[in-house]
Subunit: 346 residues, 2 copies
């Protein structure tokens, strides 16, 4: 079953084979200095012959750099994070960095453990965190950090992602304009209060009521589990907004099981615009957050910081309302769709 692992050739072997010193080989491999064509040819030949590859660990010991970045996401099964990772990956690959990806399973404890393990191996990290401000501050002293998806308001630690408050506000405005009166919000315990604040701001002075329900898990299960409390109370909502699409999808499926007709009885709105949001019946109205670009921005910024380059200010990603079948206008007299450039109808 097992194939014997001959130990890999080293610089010494290449140096011997090509009759030059180790330092010469090193400089040629790294492009640090140029040599006579004859020497370079011999060295390249020997490298090819022996199948030499530099040992990145030995290199890291000296340079103090690993050309690797760590990524900690809360749940790689969530397409928002998968897309974020794809954005990070593409940037990292083109710039010659390796990505060490880990999944914290939405646990602050696991997240800490992973960070401690990752930090000595990488030059910087991108983290969707659940940790406290003080914990983040501690870690950020050890390595450059970039935060995503869950703004924590820690100073000196750059945060990336679309404006959650604005996302909430866009949804709120749409609901107001489309005649909804009783809105329930499925909130995520920790983390971003921002989406909620945005909703509140949009509803201020409009007479629209907002009821907030809590869910521990920002996934399909979380939506399924919250559906009962959310939908079967005495005052039934005419719209529910969920912290993210997964929760909205779970919630909508469960609502339909209860016999609700979406959107006739109830509008359902999510956040993220994951690929599956377009495939349900009805397809889900949601707010696109540009997860992939969020990852790319975070990675670019982090790598620039690591390499001591200038870190440009990134254009904030603008949340965009994607109108689909899970929501509809409630009052015939106000059929206008909301105005503004942040709306796309599909």
């Amino acid at each position: 079953m097992s194939v014997p692992q001959h130990k890999a050739p080293t610089l010494r072997h290449v140096a011997h084979a090509s009759q030059v010193s180790e330092s010469t080989v090193s400089k040629i491999v790294n492009g640090t200095k140029r040599f006579s064509p004859e020497v370079e040819r011999r060295v390249h030949e020997a490298i090819a012959e022996l199948g030499y590859t530099a040992n990145p660990h030995a290199r890291s010991v000296i340079t103090g750099k690993s050309r690797a970045i760590g990524v900690v996401v809360a749940d790689i099964l969530n397409p928002h994070f998968a897309l974020l990772v794809k954005g990070i990956n593409s940037v990292a690959r083109t710039r010659g960095y390796t990505v060490l990806l880990t999944d914290s399973e939405e646990s602050a404890e696991i997240e800490s453990e992973l960070l401690r393990e990752l930090i000595p191996r990488v030059d910087g990290l991108i983290v969707a965190t659940r940790l406290s401000q003080s914990a983040i501050e501690q870690f950020s002293k050890l390595r450059p950090l970039a935060l995503t998806s869950r703004p924590s308001g820690v100073e000196h630690v750059p945060t990336f992602g679309a404006d959650g408050r604005l996302a909430g506000q866009i949804i709120g405005q749409y609901l107001v304009q489309s005649g909804h009166r009783r809105v329930s919000y499925l909130h995520l315990r920790q983390g971003s209060e921002e989406r909620l604040h945005g909703l509140r701001a949009a509803f201020a002075g409009t007479g629209v009521s907002l009821t907030v329900h809590l869910s521990g898990e920002p996934n399909i299960e979380g939506g399924v589990n919250a559906a009962g409390a959310l939908l079967l109370g005495t005052e039934r909502p005419d719209a529910v907004v969920a912290y993210n699409d997964l929760m909205a999808l779970g919630l909508m499926a469960e609502a339909q099981k209860y016999g609700f007709n979406v959107p006739a009885d109830l509008s359902v709105i999510g956040v993220d615009d994951i690929p599956y949001a377009a495939l349900t019946s009805p397809p889900l109205t949601t707010v696109q957050l540009h997860s992939r670009q969020e990852g790319a921005h975070a990675a670019e910024s982090l790598l620039n910081r690591i390499e001591g380059l200038e870190v440009p200010a990134y254009l904030p990603l603008h949340p965009q309302l994607i109108l689909r079948g899970s929501s509809r206008v409630r009052v015939p007299e106000s059929p206008g769709t909301p105005s503004g450039s942040s709306v796309t109808s599909q």
Copy 2:
């Protein structure tokens, strides 16, 4: 923005602070040898005081081990791979290994590049490959490999995952028994022929016709794009089977746009049982492949091999038909659902 990075304390610092030799500290840190309580106390104190963490790179240079494994998946956005990774992660974490995850974006070229980059950094790799047998053989000489999801039939390289041929056979048998007569299969260009072989075997001698269509992309887009050719020919199928759930979901959504009623006009069946398969209308009939356990098995086996432990034979994962609303019996006279333990109705 940037916080100064004081260079990390080393063994030397700890040795100094606690008045012992470097090798003593090393042995205490690694638990290699025991020392007097007094010395151990001093060393642990110094470690805590200085916030010392071992430099894993320096360690790797000497030991030749990195306590890291590499993972290459084809598309982390595909829940099958996300679950696979979760299975791998949980095993790796409990055994003290770090996971270096990368996404090859379904490209053999990128996959090769990633493998070359990963190999010198890790003790072994888990790969969902698109590479040729010979390429895989080459890589497997450099590091222990475990293959998943896409059996390649390379000798000496263990492969994990449910039996694809059996999955195809189970679907085929169900379709036969439920009275379908014209089946179209949406096949994935490269890789697993196994699911197709299983279907063929099940249809042999039954008079059920099988038409095979090709799709390059094993994702939602692939299903959407193939729908036209698959559904709008002269002889319309009464069932379509897709290589995986993503393709089936894309295909079903598109079929519904064309006006097909699923399952009245057409049964749609996928493979994987991704979480979203249960949320569409109708929910998708599919075959559960136990992706998470597949990942766990591959990781356990690989780590055992790396550590020179015995590598137990893993129980093959049995594909299980999950009957949902996207398929139904076609002929009144044969209303029986298929028998056997591999069927779960929901």
